[in-house]
């Protein structure tokens, strides 16, 4: 187990996603990953959020389909992750 400092989080509108991957590279701490099998009803893969989001808005700013809502925690939280 290790704990990851997480300053922010996002809400992902999975159905709006068109699976373009732009958010993945855009995310500075690299906490967005695309699904590999799961697709939305239109058949697109979509991003998942891992611990460590900083609430930097890079994803929401670059997503062509307005899939993200970005939040900042009032104070950072620690999230436990299994190695």
């Amino acid at each position: 187990m290790r704990s990851v400092l997480t300053r922010g989080s996002v809400v992902i509108d999975v159905e709006a996603c068109k699976g373009c991957d732009l958010c993945i590279d855009a995310c500075p701490p690299d906490v967005l990953v695309m699904t590999t099998h799961e697709v939305n009803t239109r058949g697109y893969r979509y991003p998942l959020l891992l611990p460590g989001c900083t609430g930097c808005k890079a994803c929401s700013q670059i997503c062509p389909d307005f899939v993200f809502q970005v939040y900042k925690y009032d104070k950072p939280i620690e999230i436990e992750v299994a190695e």
Partner: protein
């Protein structure tokens, strides 16, 4: 002059337009005349994709879209209502039973086949429409299997020629899945 109208409907990704082209070229190879009008809703995945195929022994009198069809190929139920309106008692309806959910009028001559499953079996998910084309060939003789096989390559974009083989497999699989010519296209004089 006999004209055979085949209405085709499905969703993006099932290969409906490709199948329409293969059947068209196959029919031409047999000395028939052909008209084919396809329509599809934009670039989005899962969008509707329809096609009207008319095969005839002489000059085509049918306009690009027709009010009544001799037969229909229904790959998906999502947008099939338009095709439904073109069916009349006796129309031969080929249905993709793997996916199709909907009412089928008893007056039609319905032929159900799980073409998507079959396509997956032959390892060609995109080949469902090819399977159906093979089935239609066997069941109606609208276009012979050989002609279909011969039409595949010309219908593929140059950078896709390597896909000829798997499409041939799909066609054969569909052809074999039907045991007899149950609705001959060219014997009786049906349809205008």
């Amino acid at each position: 002059m006999a004209e055979r109208e085949l209405a085709m409907t499905g969703i993006g990704g099932q290969g409906v337009q490709f199948a329409a082209q293969v059947m068209s070229r196959g029919a031409i190879a047999e000395g028939r005349q052909v008209m084919m009008f396809g329509s599809y809703g934009g670039m989005m995945r899962g969008g509707n994709t329809d096609a009207t195929l008319v095969v005839a022994d002489g000059p085509i009198e049918s306009p690009p879209t027709v009010p009544r069809v001799w037969a229909a190929m229904v790959m998906h139920h999502e947008y099939w209502s338009f095709v439904q309106q073109q069916l009349r008692p006796g129309s031969v309806v080929f249905v993709n039973s793997t996916i199709f959910r909907g009412e089928l009028d008893a007056s039609y001559q319905v032929i159900e086949l799980p073409v998507t499953d079959i396509a997956v079996d032959v390892g060609n998910i995109m080949g469902a429409s090819m399977v159906m084309a093979g089935a239609i060939s066997k069941a109606t003789g609208l276009v012979s299997l050989d002609s279909l096989l011969g039409a595949v390559e010309a219908s593929l974009p140059s950078y896709r020629v390597k896909h000829v083989a798997i499409n041939h497999q799909a066609l054969r699989a569909g052809f074999d899945a039907i045991d007899a010519e149950v609705a001959p296209a060219w014997s009786a004089r049906v349809g205008a």
